[in-house]
């Protein structure tokens, strides 16, 4: 069972019900649950969207698109039904934040979905979890059933005259389905291959109807924004990056865990104070700041605020906010190889630059790591990766190429140390049992 952690620097908004039994609907109600949706009903859709825009909340899946703006793109008058689709297909390596949301606060996801539905004029929401999260699906299913039993879902919710239904389901193992258009394909019972955009889902989405697709953490933040007001929420974060975020700190740290920190919180502090520093008293070698697709950073680069803009300026990305801490005994070629192996495995094969690119990157890096690399391999890796950028329907190709480019740029010497028949000089040095 995921261990809950805590640190004094945390600002608990989204996580304030974690560990308090809020999966139980009565407990959730006691902790201000289902008040936000009633406020939203009373004040109306325009008010909800205004508050969402004021909150500065940006998509927690990784793209960082302003949520209020996304909702406002949905046309008001259309003939086709509109849908809300909650993306809980959490699959980016180093990311386990939605896991704890579904576990500890499933009703916040339901309430957020209802508010999104109200804002865009939808009567049906889908909550899609990754297939591996069966035990979390059961928690969500129970929460949805309890909400129906109380009359919170279904016909005429809270006496508003508005109907709203929620369907929960899982996938069956596919990283690519976390991409919004592939997610719609999967929900329509197809292979999860991406759709070309435009049209964007807000106009033509699920079953051809206008669809708002939000990450589960984004949706779970919505009720809190309704309760505290958009401006107050925005003030917690940094400029143009409202609120807090669930940061998952993993890898070689003393206190790994999911921590809720304000947007803009310093990355170095997150590692050394919140995460308790590098374990075993070792030196830091590298940090992947926002899930496996974000470019690796060197120790001298991490004195930076963690939000979409500041990390972007620093040459990386906030992504899904999964911070991976890597100590000085790690082989970065092996790390790069494990990263590209993942993307090669998960490439859906639809776009050739991604399908072929990830495969050749994996083959080449694998050869280098095994000691069979030659000088030109290093330039080839970079050339291949750079030519994948921007040439695919969905961002998986970029997600594979960006970290690869950063590994070869920042750790070229480690790749060189593997060339010309030399065995890996980094892996399995003296390796005392780690604490």
């Amino acid at each position: 069972m995921p261990r809950l952690v805590s640190h004094p620097d945390e600002v608990k908004i989204l996580s304030r019900r974690f560990g308090k039994g809020a999966a139980d609907i009565d407990k959730y109600i006691e902790l201000d649950g289902y008040k936000a949706v009633q406020t939203a009903i009373a004040k109306g859709a325009d008010w909800v969207i205004t508050e969402m825009k004021a909150s500065g909340l940006r998509g927690r899946g990784g793209a960082g698109f302003p949520t209020g703006l996304k909702w406002s793109f949905v046309p008001k008058q259309v003939d086709r039904p509109k849908y809300v689709l909650v993306n809980g297909d959490e699959s980016e390596p180093a990311t386990c934040k939605d896991h704890v949301i579904f576990l500890h606060d499933p009703h916040a996801v339901i309430e957020g979905t209802m508010i999104a539905g109200l804002a865009i004029g939808s009567k049906l929401g889908f909550i899609y979890l990754r297939g591996e999260y069966r035990y979390l699906l059961k928690i969500m299913e129970k929460a949805v059933a309890d909400a129906y039993a109380k009359g919170f879902l279904g016909k005429n919710i809270f006496g508003s005259g508005i109907d709203f239904d929620i369907v929960t389901q899982t996938g069956a193992g596919a990283y690519e389905v976390g991409e919004e258009s592939a997610l719609m394909e999967s929900l329509e019972g197809k292979r999860g291959i991406p759709r070309i955009k435009p049209p964007f889902p807000a106009v033509v989405g699920l079953y051809g109807g206008p669809t708002v697709i939000n990450n589960a953490e984004t949706i779970a933040s919505v009720p809190h924004i309704m309760l505290m007001g958009g401006e107050a929420y925005a003030r917690v974060g940094s400029e143009r990056n409202g609120g807090t975020r669930l940061f998952g700190i993993s890898g070689h740290v003393n206190n790994p865990g999911v921590y809720e920190l304000p947007m803009g919180y310093n990355l170095k502090k997150a590692i050394y104070e919140v995460g308790g520093g590098v374990r075993g008293g070792r030196k830091l070698k590298a940090v992947v700041p926002g899930g496996s697709s974000t470019p690796v950073m060197l120790p001298e680069e991490i004195d930076v605020g963690m939000d979409f803009d500041q990390l972007g300026k620093a040459g990386s990305m906030l992504g899904s906010a999964g911070i991976v801490v890597i100590d000085d005994q790690t082989c970065m070629v092996e790390f790069a190889l494990r990263t590209i192996q993942f993307y090669q495995h998960e490439s859906c094969g639809w776009c050739i630059p991604c399908r072929e690119g990830t495969d050749w990157l994996k083959k080449t890096i694998s050869r280098v790591h095994a000691g069979g690399g030659v000088d030109k391999d290093l330039d080839n890796i970079r050339y291949l990766a750079e030519n994948m950028l921007g040439r695919t329907f969905c961002p998986l190709g970029d997600a594979a190429a960006m970290p690869t480019i950063a590994f070869i740029k920042k750790f070229r010497h480690e790749f060189e140390d593997h060339l010309n028949g030399k065995p890996c000089p980094y892996a399995h040095k003296e390796e005392p049992a780690l604490v």
Partner: protein, 169 residues
């Protein structure tokens, strides 16, 4: 496009499938969940599973096969009763996920995607399972185990062998 006269599924699963196809604007949306539930019951996606699901949804068997081959959790061959899935992705790798994988290989005497002769366990090296902050982590079927050591791993395997393991379905 109909409920079949005879079904290969248990009454509970058949009933679930009858309901699943009504939840969505189109029946086909139930396809991926149905395949996973069918696999839970039958052990794998057999030809008979494909035929019945195709009939229930009103699509061709080829359509069903086309979809099922996309998803990594769906399999067309039986696995062990307990499928041990060891994550070796980056966060787990840094905390010795490969050590756990090696330990399982030795302990079970099988490799990646193999099954023990008694059919009790199969072993699989998998991609990120979303337990990164509690690494190294594994799943046995749908149940998570985290912050593992070889000793904890032994205990888990012993528990399943003795019929004491968790079994979320």
């Amino acid at each position: 496009m109909s409920t079949p006269q005879t079904t290969i599924f248990s009454p509970a699963t058949a009933e679930r499938f009858d309901r699943l196809v009504t939840l969505y604007p189109v029946k086909r949306s139930a396809l991926v969940p149905m395949l996973l539930y069918a696999q839970d019951e039958v052990g794998y996606i057999s030809d008979a599973v494909i035929a019945e699901i195709a009939q229930r949804i009103g699509i061709t068997e080829l359509d069903v096969r086309n979809v099922l081959t996309y998803y990594s959790m769906l399999r067309t061959k039986p696995a062990g009763k307990y499928n041990v899935q060891v994550c070796t992705n980056i966060s787990c790798m840094l905390r010795d996920g490969y050590g756990i994988m090696e330990h399982c290989k030795k302990r079970l005497g099988i490799g990646h995607k193999e099954t023990t002769p008694d059919g009790l366990f199969s072993l699989e090296e998998v991609e990120c399972i979303g337990a990164c902050c509690w690494a190294p982590a594994i799943q046995v079927n749908y149940d998570f185990y985290d912050e593992l050591t070889p000793e904890k791993m032994d205990q888990i395997l012993d528990d399943y062998k003795a019929g004491r393991g968790k079994e979320t379905v």
